[in-house]
């Protein structure tokens, strides 16, 4: 009897293993477990067995029954999976995917992220200072003469209202350089016996100038670097410029500095980057192979003095460039009208 049960089980399992579809499985199940199935019939014989052996065989019979049922279920699942997989094998993988809807960060945000990461790697720390500023921070302390054109009503936005007794009129800062004065003044405030902590500042902010045309928007963004320590040199400034140009624009691009004039740096430079479209050969975009990135220079001793730093002990360099400009120069992104960046047309914003 015991052998019979085990044989039945083995027999059933091998049939189940070879079954090819669900219908066949149902037949196998019926053949063993149905009302006149082989196992059912074997079980019917149980009452005739000796009582001592009966209990043991009963347990075995039950086990056989459960094993067969479980194997049938398992095989059914396998078959279903097989059908599914054979369907999957036939799909056209070139049909479109079901994309989750993802939005877009503004071009300026993307550029700011990249610029920040690049400068952070060489120890610059990002800061933010007021956009609405006093004349002192935006001009006076930066060594601008009283009658400098940038200080008149045609170039800078002024706020309607009374001037500060010490800091002069209130205005919208036309450049991130006002952050230089804030940063250095803060360093002096927290200095210990005339020794300031060295500065490596990255100030990225909105700036405002009173102009609007295809290449100017009244609001734009600048990023400003300032390094102050002992014995910094033009060689160091060039080091940072080259590093940024290669990191941001690509290894193939090179930078150069040209003599220029700014009130708050001496010597002052204009920084050019080789054109990415023609690789510096000269083309319709760049004319002579170079694109102008912006200004830089060694911090003017008067500026250091104005913030309370001793120019005989400390010096440094600074640079301030347009985020939008850097962006447009990067991949030859030829946006024909800069104002488009702030027009908020989704057709434009969703391209990036």
């Amino acid at each position: 009897m015991e052998n019979e049960l085990i044989n039945l089980k083995n027999n059933a399992l091998s049939l189940i293993l070879e079954a090819e579809d669900e219908k066949e499985l149902e037949e196998i199940k019926l053949q063993f477990l149905g009302r006149s199935g082989k196992l059912t019939q074997a079980i019917r014989k149980l009452p005739k067995i000796d009582i001592e052996k009966r209990k043991e065989l009963g347990v075995l019979a039950n086990e056989v029954k459960e094993t067969i049922e479980a194997s049938v279920d398992e095989k059914k699942k396998q078959l279903k999976k097989g059908i599914l997989m054979s369907k999957i094998r036939k799909i056209d993988v070139t049909n479109p995917g079901i994309k989750p809807q993802i939005g877009h960060l503004h071009l300026v945000t993307q550029a700011i992220s990249e610029i920040t990461s690049i400068f952070e790697k060489i120890g610059f720390v990002r800061v933010r200072y007021p956009e609405v500023e006093w004349d002192w921070y935006a001009f006076e302390a930066l060594n601008f003469p009283k009658d400098h054109p940038a200080r008149d009503d045609w170039e800078t936005f002024f706020i309607d209202g009374a001037s500060h007794k010490k800091y002069g009129p209130m205005l919208l800062t036309p450049h991130t350089s006002s952050g230089q004065i804030r940063e250095m003044s803060n360093a002096v405030k927290s200095s210990v016996s005339g020794e300031i902590s060295p500065i490596k500042m990255l100030n990225i902010a909105k700036c405002y100038r009173r102009q609007s045309d295809v290449s100017h928007t009244p609001m734009f963004h600048q990023f400003e670097g300032l390094a102050i320590d002992k014995n910094l040199s033009i060689v160091n400034l060039k080091g940072v410029l080259d590093y940024f140009v290669k990191s941001y624009f690509g290894e193939k691009r090179v930078s150069r500095i040209r003599p220029y004039h700014f009130e708050f740096t001496e010597p002052s430079f204009e920084v050019d980057v080789s054109c990415g479209v023609c690789n510096g050969q000269g083309c319709s975009l760049c004319k002579d192979g170079w694109l102008e990135l912006g200004g830089a220079g060694m911090v003017h001793p008067n500026v250091l003095k104005n913030t309370g730093i001793d120019p005989d002990k400390f010096n440094g360099f600074a640079f301030g460039w347009g985020v939008e400009r850097a962006l447009m120069m990067k991949d030859g992104l030829e946006i024909d009208d800069l104002r488009l960046i702030y027009s908020n047309k989704l057709e434009f914003l969703e391209q990036f």
Binding site: Q101, T109, L172, K238
Partner: protein, 538 residues
């Protein structure tokens, strides 16, 4: 300086015409061409009057008075506001707007026979003001407003006379006048060899520096490692050691200098999860939820200012009425952006930017805000609320509260009892929100807390109550949570007309709960909710 000449007007020689055109100046006639050619060659602008058009023999140079008028040589009439530098004849008529543009009443024409060749050098501030306020941007004005070395005038004058003689049959018929009240002086700067090398970043010896400076017209003496220099008058910009260093460096060649990144670091610490980190994280959060980022101008019109404009920070010199005030809310501009994209079935946009709050006698408070708009035909308040809840949770903020908003349909949002922002339901398809990001930054953190994984399984139960619509779900949840420390969580699972189903999680840390444990708590809940909110179990 000035002198009267007899001339014969004609065309300039080919060489002069071509050179002028190639430098961006149109060739007109031999006399006018001389003034422009001298400006290009020497760098000092000059002017010519038709001597016979002047009705008197006296020229007074003074500041203009408000209301005086003139007609420039291109025929345009201007009314002056005062403070322009003008030349006036004996009758009080303006015959030149100095440094900017000549006037029609004294302009040289084809039949001009006698001219005054006239060079003036004025305070650049006045030239700038006249040129900008009248909108006359001539090349002379652009050069004059930057300031020119008066010492250049002699060369320009001599060269001009010579050119008139050469190409316009010029003949001097008067003495020359030279009025020179404020003479340029030669500056004096001393700088050490060490300083030069230190600022440039490579060693450059005194001999090399002196050689460069002498070629630029400086007089240089070397004494004990120091350069003693006399600055040519042409260079009034050179007044400090740094100016001298610039001259040496630029002639030495910037391209010959190596590039070395300075290796020092600042002493600033703890800057990883700073405000910029959380700003970026939040922007990315919205991006990956399908929002597109907008940058609007901070300057808005009266319409886009939220509230009465007497509270606004106003520009003194706006470009236009559309950009007159600094905004105090991002939402009005964002709604304009929605209008500008009408063709879209669904719009999800956001902006993170500063707003400006007026303060008496101080700079305005600049507050970073985070705002957004969702527009879709079936948008719901809870969709937007869910986004804000998920955002704050992602920034490590455990709890924010929502209260019904009295101003408009929607909700005010609080954090730790402080106002954080609001959600506003504008109509059936547009919902906006605005959050004070500075407040968020006060609470945002990256803190990780670990809760021991449960050893014993939880038991879940759903209880449905029939509740009046005035009963707040939050109050019911808090009441349920209060009933036993074995209740680990309560959420609203479903709502249908007047019934609400709460999903309750029971769990103990030290044993498996029995159905008897749960039944006792269940009874407490039902009794308490029934009593407090007049609710029935469904």
């Amino acid at each position: 300086m000035a002198q009267v000449l007899e001339v014969k007007i004609g065309y300039s020689p080919e060489k002069i015409r071509r050179r002028l055109e190639e430098s961006g100046i149109r060739s007109l006639n031999s006399v006018v061409d001389v003034t422009n050619y001298v400006m290009r060659e020497v760098g000092h602008p000059s002017h010519v009057f038709d001597f016979d058009l002047l009705s008197t023999r006296k020229m007074d140079i003074r500041q203009s008075r408000p209301g005086e008028t003139l007609t420039t040589l291109d025929g345009k009439k201007y009314r002056l506001t005062g403070g322009d530098i003008v030349a006036v004849d004996d009758n009080g008529e303006i015959i030149d707007l100095l440094g900017v543009m000549g006037t029609a009443n004294s302009v040289v024409q084809e039949n001009t026979k006698r001219i005054i060749f006239f060079l003036d050098n004025n305070n650049p501030k006045f030239i700038r003001r006249s040129s900008m306020s009248l909108g006359i941007r001539t090349e002379a004005a652009i050069i004059n407003e930057k300031g020119i070395d008066p010492e250049l005038m002699k060369d320009a004058f001599k060269r001009g006379i010579k050119l008139f003689e050469e190409i316009a049959e010029g003949k001097v018929i008067s003495d020359s006048i030279d009025i020179y009240p404020n003479k340029s002086k030669k500056g004096h700067v001393t700088v050490s060899e060490d300083k030069i090398s230190s600022v440039i970043g490579i060693d450059i010896n005194s001999e090399k520096s002196a050689d460069i400076l002498r070629k630029l017209g400086f007089e240089v003496k070397i004494k004990n490692g120091k350069l003693d220099t006399k600055v040519p008058t042409l260079r009034p910009d050179v007044t400090t050691e740094e100016d001298i260093i610039e001259e040496v460096a630029r002639i030495f060649g910037y391209h010959k200098l190596p590039s070395i990144i300075p290796s020092f670091l600042t002493n600033k610490t703890g800057t990883f999860a700073d405000r910029f980190y959380f700003e970026k994280k939040s922007k990315n959060f919205f991006k990956y939820l399908g929002f597109t980022e907008i940058y609007n101008y901070s300057l808005v019109s009266e319409d886009l200012f939220d509230g009465p404009v007497d509270r606004a920070i106003k520009l003194k010199n706006p470009l236009s009425e559309d950009m007159m005030y600094l905004r105090n809310s991002l939402v009005p501009s964002l709604l304009t952006s929605v209008d500008e994209n009408k063709g879209h079935d669904e719009i999800k946009i956001f902006e993170m930017s500063g707003v400006y709050e007026k303060r008496q006698g101080d700079l305005p408070k600049e507050i970073l805000m985070l705002a957004g708009v969702v527009k879709r035909h079936d948008v719901s308040f809870f969709e937007v609320k869910g986004i804000i809840e998920a955002l704050t949770l992602d920034l490590g903020i455990k709890k924010i509260n929502f209260n019904k908003r009295s101003k408009s349909p929607g909700s005010d949002i609080y954090i730790d009892g402080k106002f954080l922002g609001y959600i506003e339901v504008l109509d059936g398809e547009t919902i906006n929100f605005e959050l004070n990001f500075e407040e968020i930054l006060n609470y945002a953190n990256n803190k990780k807390t670990y809760k021991k994984l449960a050893k014993y399984p939880p038991i879940f139960e759903d209880i449905t109550f029939v509740l009046d619509t005035s009963v707040l779900t939050e109050d019911v949840i808090n009441e349920i949570l209060n009933k036993s420390f074995l209740i680990k969580n309560v959420t609203l699972k479903d709502r249908f007309s007047n019934s609400r189903t709460f999903h309750i999680t029971y769990q103990a840390e030290d044993r498996s709960l029995s159905s008897k444990d749960v039944f006792e708590i269940h009874k407490k809940i039902v009794d308490s909710i029934g009593e407090k909110f007049a609710a029935k179990v469904k």
